[in-house]
Symmetry: C2
């Protein structure tokens, strides 16, 4: 009786694969679907290996959550151009693939439901949330200043909270029931709504009537 042959992978690659497998399991079956054995099967290894890289199941879940948050926020943090282009890109990125899809929501909701239980997850969550809102607040501040508008901290804060809420809510609606909306309907509604909130057009020059 011989053993399976196997491949000895570099640590970073193996850790990445295991986290990826974890996310696949969660997306398909929720946190309950992410058992150590199922993750191992998905990654094409045996269950014992997971404990070689992660001290516990909680640990791998925390690392996986870090990846989820990074994916939800990294693209929006790398927008370029003038303030108007950056704000516009920020809005669009958060309401289109790959940020907005049912898999993202499934992963996000699975972890959110554990944030109130696991203190370490709560810390990871808080950091990601504040980063996101701060990024939006700064975008707004620069945009308002560029347009010669009131860019006082109080107004930026209130606008950031409102727009952040709007984006979160539309993201949620789109992820939960994308088929209820026309192609890019949510993006149009978001752009029009945010224009109304700020009181300044943000449409790109050529599509702005």
């Amino acid at each position: 009786m011989s053993r399976r042959s196997f491949h000895r992978a570099p640590e970073s690659e193996r850790r990445h694969d295991l986290i990826e497998a974890t996310l696949d399991c969660i997306a398909e079956g929720g946190l309950e679907g992410a058992t150590v054995r199922q993750i191992a099967i998905k990654a094409g290894v045996t269950a014992g290996l997971i404990r070689h890289y992660f001290t516990s199941k909680e640990h791998i879940l925390q690392e996986a959550y870090r990846v989820v948050i990074a994916r939800l926020t990294e693209k929006a943090g790398r927008v370029t151009g003038d303030p108007q282009e950056r704000l516009r890109a920020f809005i669009i990125i958060n309401l289109t693939e790959p940020v907005a899809n049912s898999r993202s929501l499934s992963l996000w909701a699975s972890f959110i439901s554990r944030v109130s239980v696991d203190a370490e997850l709560a810390a990871i969550h808080r950091e990601g949330y504040l980063n996101f809102r701060d990024a939006l607040e700064e975008l707004l501040s620069e945009f308002l200043a560029a347009k010669g508008q009131d860019a006082s901290p109080g107004r930026c804060r209130a606008l950031a909270i409102a727009i952040n809420g709007l984006l979160d809510g539309l993201w949620l609606e789109g992820c939960l029931a994308g088929e209820l909306f026309e192609e890019s309907e949510l993006v149009s509604i978001a752009l029009a709504s945010i224009e109304a909130l700020i009181g300044v057009p943000i449409g790109s020059p050529d599509t702005d009537q």
Copy 2:
């Protein structure tokens, strides 16, 4: 060796208690914390009784989700007064206790993460979501008509999607990190934002400056 003495409860009361115990378990420990044994302990009965009232664990979870959705939407469905008062009350109700608190979010997120897995939960979810958005759309339609504004179906739909998103998003922010906001700050932001979206004041007469 004698048995525990027990109380024979009416069916509706017992079912209610078991569902309530289920929600407590989920709020405290997520779906994973809601085991048949844990629910029984919380309800002060033994595990076997749960199977006497519910055909399976899936079944009691579905019934529990119905209760969660009902609580999130029932109050907003019973607003009274003229269109402006109703719209205003609708907004406030959805952003204050008992709709907006961390327990509500914890329950909501736990179930949302299973909506994509369990078809029955998905049906329950969809019904609740559409009811909510339709109620908002009708409120808007009546409000706009009363104000002599454009109340065309297209505009009402777009406004309902935007405002629904905004309310969802602010609800989420408030539930997730209520301590980051001043007292009633979210309600103020919501009212001001929705006024900007609609283009008509909705503040109550005495607080409307």
